[in-house]
Amino acid sequence: MEEIRIGVYICWCGSNIAQLIDVKFIAGEIKKLENVIISRDYKYMCSDPGQETLIADIKQNKLNRIVVAACSPRIHEPTFRKALEKAGLNPYMFQMANIREQDSWVHIDKEYATLKAVALVKAAVSRVKHHEPLNKKSVEVNSATMVIGGGITGLTSALEIAQAGKQVYLIEKSDSLGGITAKIDLTYPDLKSAGQMIRPKISQVQNHNLIEVFLNTILEDISGYVGNFSTKVRRNGTSEEITFGNIIVATGLKPFSPVTIPEYKYKVLPDVITSIELEKMLQDGTVKTSDGSKPDNIAIIHCVGSRNEQYHPYCSRTCCSTALKYANQLRSLLPDAHLFDIYADMRAYGKGCEEFYTNTSNKNIMFLMYDQKNGLPEIRKANSSDNAGMIITFSEKLSGENIEVPVDLVILMTAVEAHEDAKEVARLTGISLCGNDFYIEKHPKLDPVATTTDGVYIAGTCQGPKGIDESIVQAKAAAAKVLSMIAMGSIEIEVAVSHVNEEVCCGCQTCIMVCPYKAISFDEEKNVSVVNEALCKGCGTCGSTCPTGAIKSLHFTDIQILSQIEGLLKTESETI
C-alpha cells in the first residue's frame, strides 16, 4: 500500500476565521500528526493563488490526501475538488473542515473556538486517511423514448420529442388515439374546439416517421434502468421487444361513475346524465330529455364524487370551469331555458377563468351554492302538478333557505379518477401511487414530472386532475427532461453509492426493504443483494441497516466516519 501523505491547509478567510481562531497554532498542532507532510495557513484558500499553492504542493510533495479547513463544504468543496483534479489527484481524496460557519462565526471565546477548530481538523485528517479514489461513472442513454398513453398528453410528448429528431414509441391500449380530449366538444375559457386542436395532432403523430404508434397494445414487462430500458409489448396477440432510454407515462384518467351516489339517482331517473353524456348531445347540437322533448329547466350539479370523503376527497380541478362552459353552450342552444348551476365553491382559477365566470353570470343563469357538510342535493321525480320532470332539493348556502329547484334535465359534473391501468403501469415502471391512485411525483413542487425512478417521467392527468392546457404543458415539461438527457448522450451517475460485499452479505434482504429508490435487487443465484449504481442516490440508509456490515456507503464508509469520530475526540492539547 502506498504511503499516506496528507496536506493540510488552514484558511484565514481574511479576518473571518483568523480574527477568532489562531490559525497558526492549528497549523502547528496538525503538523505534529502522523502522515501530515504539509500543514499551512493561508489568507484565502479559495482564491486563485491559494489553489495554485495547493496544486504545487501536491505535485512537489507527492501529497495524496488533502484537508482544507475553511468555510462550509457546501460552498467550496467543488472548488477544491477541481483543484485536486487539476493536480492529477482523485477529487475524493479530499476533506473539508468547516471552521467558519460552524466555528468562527458562531463562537465568541477565542480559546474554545481554536480548540474546536483543532478537533475538527484532526477529525478531517483522521477521516481522509481512509478515503478511497472514486471514479465518475456514466451510462449511455438510448435516444429512443417510450410514451405510454395516446391521449393529448402522450401525443404532445411524443410530438415534442419526435420533432427534435428522436425516435418515439407511443403505446396505446385502445384502438384509437386522442383519449378523453377527443370526446370533448369545446374547451374553457375561450370556447375553443378541442377536436380542431387534437385532430391535426393525431394525424401528425400517425404520419411522423420518428413515431411508431402501437395501438391495441399492452405492456407485459419493463426491465432496465435510466438510459437503457427494454420492454415487451403485446399487440394483436404478438409480442415485440423494444428498447429505449426514457419513459413518459401519460395514462390519463377516467370519469367517476355516479351510480354509487344515492341522492342523484343516476341510472334510476333517465334525465340525470353525466358531463360526458352531455358532451355527445352538444356535439350533435341537440339537447333533449329522455322522451325527446326540449328541456325547459336544466340544472348542473358540481362536485359529483369530488370533495367528499365517501367518494373522492380531492377536488377534480376542472369541473367548475367545465360547468361554466356547459352553461354557455346550453344558453346558446336553448336561449329560453332556465339554467341552474348548483356549485360548492366556484373554482374558476385559471387565466381568463374568473372573467369567464363573470361573463357567464351575465347569461341569465341561476347560481346556487350548496355545502357538502349539509348533505348532497337530492333529486326526486316530480308530481304532475310541479310542471317539471324532477325536483332537486337542498339547503342553499347563500340564502340560508331550503330550496326546491324544478328541472327537466340534470347534468352531473362527475369527478375524475385515476385510470384503471394506472396501478399496473405503476408496478411495471416502479412509480409510487398516492392514496388516490394518482402517481406520486419526485417532488410535488420542484420536480413535478419526474418520479423516484430515474428515466421515468409522468405527465398529464395520471399525476392528478388537470385541464387540457395544463396537461399539454406537463407533456412538454416531461419531454424537456427526456430531451436534455438525450442531448447529453450519457448521464453521470452518483459516485458515492452503496456497494455490497458479496462475501459478507447473508441474503436477508433488509436493505431492499429500506431502499427508497428500489436500487437494490436480489441475486437469487448467489443469494446476495446487488446495488444498481444507476439507481442508487447514496443516502446510506441501507448501509446503516445491514446487519452484517456487508454494505459499504462509498465516501461515507463506517471506517471513515468512525475514524472521523475518533479524530474529533482525541484532543491531546487541552489548552493552548
Partner: protein, 603 residues
C-alpha cells in the same frame, strides 16, 4: 384522396369597441373567391335565431362544412351542429376561427384575420401553416428572470449541455420563492428545496449568471438574437468578495430590506439574504452615502480584500448572441394601500401576506416569532422578537383580486397560501383565534382540498364573506364582515390582520414585451401563442414564456411551465432551427403553405 367541400362561413361580431378593428369588407373580398367558399353570412344581417333560413341555405346550397369566425365562435358551435344535422350533414364539420385574440404588435388585425381564415378554409391548422419557415438557430439561450421559473428553465436547458445566460434584475436569484417560509400543501420549507437549486445554478458549468442586470435592447431575428444587457454597478467585485460581511458592519446607509418585504432594515452595502446566489455583497446606490453625497467610503476602509469595493464603478452594457429567449419575469404583489378600507399603511398591524411570510420565517425579523409591530425608541414601527404575540388574527382573501375596482382576475394562489399561513400561525400560537374571510375557497390542486380539510379541523374559523372595512378601535382592529353561512354581521376585534394580496404583472413586463415584440393579455400578463394548446410560446419565434409572467400560478405550475418552455428551446437547439415570428410571415406565404398542405378542393 381529395374530397369535394362546400363551405359556409358565418361571421359573428363582438359587442363594444373591438368591433371596429377588423375591416370586414376587405376580409369578405379576400375570401369570396376561394373556390370552396359557397356562402358568407354576417351576424348583423342573418341573426342566428333564424333556424329555418340557415337549414334552408345549407340544404339548397348543399353546404357540408361550416366555419364560424369572429368573436367567441365557440358559443355558436352547437347551434350550427344542429343546423348541419338537420340538413343531413355531419355535425362535426365545423371549424372555429377566433379573430379577436392574440393581437400581434405591429400587425393589422385584418391581415391576421385573413391568414387565420384562409387556413381554416383549407382546413389546415394555423400553427402548421405558419411553421412554414425556420431560421437557423444558435445554441445559446437567454433566460430573463431568476425566480424559480427562470432557475428551472435555465437548469433544464443547461443540463442538455447548452450555454444559458441567466439574467436577473436584483442582486440574487431566488425570486419570491426564497422569501416564503413554507410551501403549500406539503409545508416543506421553501429555502430547503430552493437553495440547492440556486447553488446548482451557480455551480453549473453551462450557466452564466448575470445578476443585477437588465435587458436593454434585443435585435436580430429568431434563432439569432443579439441582446444588450445592462449590468448595473454592484460596486463590489463578485470575484474577489468573500461574503465576509465586514463592510456592512459600519456602513451608515440603510434602507428597507427587499428580501424581508420591508419588515427589517438592511445596509446600503448588503447581501440580499444569507443564502443569496451569488453569495456576494452589493451596494444599493440609492441608500449609499458615497454615491449620494460623495462622502463616506467606510466600507472600502473596512474591506479586508484589496480593491474589492469600487464605489465609482459605472454601469456597463454587454452584448450576447442567443438563439432563443425564455422570459420568466414573474410577478409583483398587489399594493394593498390602494384598498383604503383596509387601512394598510395606516394601521401598523395590518400586514400583507408577504410580510407575514417573513415574520413566521425562522430567519425573518423576529426569528420566527409572530409578534406585533411595536414602536421603538425612535418611534419607528418595528417587529421585534420581544414584541407581544397577537391573540387573534384575521386573514382576508382576495385583496385586489376578483374585484372590478382593482384586478378582475383570480390570483390563483391566495386561497392556498392563506390556509397555509393560518396553519403556520396556529402552529406558533395555538391559543390564538384565527379567522379566514373568503369568497370561494379555491383549493384546486393536488392535495389542496385535503389540506383545506385539515385546516378546517385545526380549529381555524373559516368564514364565507368578504370583509368590508377595518377600523382601529382602542389598539385593536375592528373588522366588519357578513358571515353568510350563519346569517349574521360579524364585528370582530382582532389584534392583527393579514391581507392576502393578489398577484400583478411585474412593472417591467410591459416594457419587456415591447422590447421583445410580444403581446400582452388583457390584464398585462404576457400573451401566450395559444391559450389552449401552447401556453409557453409567443407570437415571436424563439421567445418563450414561463411562470407567473404569463399569469398567476403556484410553484409546481410555474416549474412545469418552465420545463415546458425549456423543451421548446432544447428542441430548437437540437434541430439547430428556430421558428419564425408570426409577424414576419407574409399572408401569401401562409396562403400558399395552406394550399399545399390542404386535402380540400372545390369542385
Amino acid at each position: 384522396m381529395r374530397k369535394a367541400v362546400k363551405t359556409g362561413i358565418y361571421f359573428s361580431h363582438p359587442v363594444g369597441s373591438q368591433a371596429h378593428t377588423i375591416n370586414y369588407r376587405e376580409l369578405y373580398k379576400y375570401i369570396k373567391n376561394v373556390p370552396v367558399v359557397t356562402k358568407i353570412w354576417d351576424s348583423t344581417v342573418n341573426p342566428i335565431s333564424d333556424e329555418e333560413y340557415f337549414t334552408g341555405e345549407i340544404t339548397s346550397k348543399s353546404i357540408n362544412r361550416i366555419i364560424i369566425a369572429g368573436y367567441l365562435p365557440g358559443y355558436l358551435k352547437s347551434i350550427f351542429s344542429r343546423f348541419l344535422k338537420k340538413a343531413g350533414e355531419e355535425a362535426e364539420n365545423i371549424s372555429l376561427v377566433e379573430l379577436y385574440e392574440h393581437p400581434l404588435p405591429d400587425v393589422p388585425s385584418t391581415e391576421i384575420a385573413k391568414s387565420k381564415l384562409i387556413c381554416a378554409i383549407y382546413d389546415v391548422p394555423y400553427e402548421a401553416a405558419i411553421l412554414a419557415e425556420m431560421n437557423p438557430s444558435q445554441s445559446e439561450t437567454l433566460v430573463i428572470g431568476g425566480g424559480i421559473a427562470g432557475i428551472q428553465a435555465a437548469l433544464d436547458i443547461a443540463n442538455s449541455h447548452n450555454k444559458v445566460y441567466l439574467v436577473e434584475k436584483t442582486g440574487t436569484i431566488g425570486g419570491h420563492m426564497a422569501m416564503f417560509d413554507k410551501t403549500f400543501p406539503t409545508l416543506d420549507c421553501a429555502a430547503c428545496i430552493l437553495t440547492p437549486k440556486m447553488v446548482e445554478v451557480s455551480n453549473h458549468p453551462f450557466i452564466e449568471l448575470m445578476t443585477y442586470s437588465e435587458i436593454k435592447k434585443i435585435s436580430g431575428i429568431p434563432g439569432n438574437y443579439s441582446v444588450n444587457i445592462l449590468q448595473k454597478a454592484r460596486r463590489v467585485n463578485v470575484n474577489t468578495c468573500t461574503g465576509c460581511g465586514t463592510c456592512a458592519e459600519k456602513c451608515p446607509g440603510t434602507s428597507k430590506s427587499e428580501f424581508d418585504a420591508g419588515t427589517t432594515m438592511r445596509k446600503a452595502i448588503y447581501m440580499p439574504f444569507p443564502q443569496a446566489v451569488p453569495n456576494k455583497y452589493l451596494i444599493d446606490a440609492d441608500s449609499c452615502r458615497y454615491v449620494q453625497n460623495g462622502k463616506c467610503g467606510v466600507c472600502v476602509k473596512n474591506c479586508p480584500v484589496e480593491n474589492c469595493i469600487n464605489l465609482d464603478e459605472k454601469d456597463k452594457e454587454v452584448e450576447v448572441q442567443v438563439g432563443n429567449i425564455v422570459v420568466a419575469t414573474g410577478f409583483k404583489t398587489f399594493n394593498a394601500s390602494r384598498m383604503e378600507q383596509y387601512g394598510y399603511g395606516k394601521y401598523p398591524n395590518v400586514l400583507t401576506s408577504l410580510e407575514l411570510e417573513r415574520l413566521v420565517n425562522a430567519a425573518g425579523p423576529t426569528g420566527g416569532k409572530i409578534s406585533f409591530r411595536t414602536q421603538d425608541k425612535k418611534g419607528n414601527w418595528v417587529f421585534t422578537a420581544e414584541g407581544p404575540e397577537p391573540k387573534s388574527v384575521a386573514i382576508i382573501h382576495c385583496v385586489g383580486s376578483r374585484d372590478e375596482n382593482y384586478n378582475k382576475y383570480c390570483s390563483r394562489v391566495c386561497c392556498m397560501y392563506s390556509l397555509k399561513l393560518a396553519h403556520l400561525i396556529k402552529e406558533k400560537l395555538p391559543d390564538a383565534e384565527i379567522f379566514e374571510h373568503y369568497i370561494d375557497m379555491r383549493a384546486f390542486g393536488k392535495g389542496y382540498e385535503e389540506f383545506y380539510d385539515r385546516i378546517l379541523h385545526e380549529g381555524i374559523h373559516i368564514i364565507r364573506g368578504k370583509t368590508a372595512k377595518i377600523e382601529e378601535h382602542q389598539d385593536k382592529l375592528l373588522l366588519r364582515t357578513e358571515d353568510i353561512e350563519h346569517n349574521r354581521i360579524l364585528e370582530q376585534e382582532v389584534e392583527m390582520v393579514i391581507l392576502s394580496v393578489g398577484l400583478e404583472p411585474n412593472n417591467e413586463t410591459g416594457d419587456l414585451a415591447s422590447i421583445l415584440g410580444i403581446g400582452l393579455s388583457a390584464n398585462g400578463w404576457l400573451q401566450e401563442a395559444n391559450s389552449l394548446s401552447n401556453t409557453t410560446e409567443t407570437s415571436s419565434g424563439g421567445i418563450f414564456i414561463a411562470g407567473t409572467c404569463q399569469g398567476p400560478k403556484d410553484i409546481p405550475d410555474s416549474v412545469v411551465q418552465a420545463s415546458a418552455a425549456a423543451s421548446g428551446v432544447i428542441q430548437s437547439i437540437m434541430l439547430k432551427k428556430t421558428e419564425q415570428s408570426m409577424k414576419n410571415i407574409s399572408l401569401s406565404t401562409i396562403e400558399s403553405k395552406a394550399r399545399e398542405l390542404s386535402l380540400i378542393n372545390g369542385e
